[in-house]
Symmetry: C2
Subunit: 170 residues, 2 copies
DNA sequence: TGTTGATTGACAGTATACTTACGATCTAGG
DNA sequence: CCTAGATCGTAAGTATACTGTCAATCAACA
């Protein structure tokens, strides 16, 4: 019997593929974030790190990488940049010489407070072209998909598990 | 009158934000792509470049960057790597000494043909956790959103406009 | 107790992704 | 024709994002 005909190779197929749409949307999201937050000189990842350190003072780099779903290797340089800007400080843990604990500086807390409404505006702008009901539907589907695909990309720990040792409930 | 109370700063707010979900989904998508295509040693961007060069033989780097929504600067190194793997060749354009035209090599065409079904499987895996109707809805919304946000990130030319000089209709 | 095994932060290496800038070249207006 | 501006590829610089590996340290078990 004849083999099935191969579909033609077109850019249209690429443009309709999930991978392309996710990559493109990530580009757009970063671009909007950077534009809105220009005055703060903070990247999306640096922002996420500040939030997590604020929420979990005294967290170490490995657990932070789990909380913000960010590679442990790269996180080192992110922290360095936040340290260079005096937004974050690292203190050696007395009970474990391997670990360095992370804290926001006063300046870091101030910047975080000031940038939050700006980030909210950026987040809103990303979805602005859609109607309210569509925004809600999209966020629901994305939340589901990211959650169900969680193990597909290398995140060493689930965020909740990562924080058990801190004795924090939320 | 009293100022509105600030919402509390939580990681939950970050996890529900569009920017976080888009970044996370992009990580997952790349991870699934790389896992499926391990044997071919091709990245998602390299794959998109091969498709575009196949679809538009003799395209130059600047137009290619518009077609695959990829930064012009970075594309240089992507092409270098494809050239090093003998998948792509560059020929100087006789009528314009600035331009180098891009073509697939025979080996590039073979790899492209072989990798396409593997990429399809990767694309399917990204959406697998969702029900068919949900997949369709998500892709519809993402297509809309990327399309309507197109100018938000710096893509120098719309893909269609970029190709006018080639005298190609599609 | 003493050594195996796991964990932590750091580093090297590769590949996006973006910003500017720059020389070579082309094109259009005068 | 000839110069002002645009475009081409390239490069330098910054910041993710991932793969590995490594020494120092810790924890747990024989």
């Amino acid at each position: 019997m004849p083999s099935k005909a191969l579909p033609p190779i077109t850019m249209e197929a690429v443009y309709a593929a999930p991978g392309y749409l996710f990559r493109r949307m990530q580009q757009i999201a970063v671009s909007i974030f950077m534009e809105e937050c220009k005055a703060f000189d903070l990247t999306p990842v640096q922002y996420a790190a500040l939030i997590a350190i604020h929420t979990h003072p005294g967290i170490d780099a490995t657990r932070l990488s789990a909380v913000i779903a960010f590679d442990r290797s790269t996180l080192g340089s992110v922290i360095e940049r936040l340290q260079a800007k005096d937004l974050v400080e690292r203190k050696p843990a007395p009970e474990d010489k391997r670990i360095k604990l992370l804290y926001l500086t006063k300046q870091g807390a101030v910047i975080l407070r000031d940038i939050i409404p700006v980030v909210e505006r950026a987040q809103a702008r990303m979805l602005e072209p859609l109607k309210p009901a569509e925004r809600k539907a999209l966020m629901g589907l994305m939340t589901q998909l990211v959650d169900l695909n969680n193990e597909a990309s290398r995140v060493p720990l689930r965020a909740e598990d990562a924080l058990e040792h801190l004795g924090k409930a939320g």
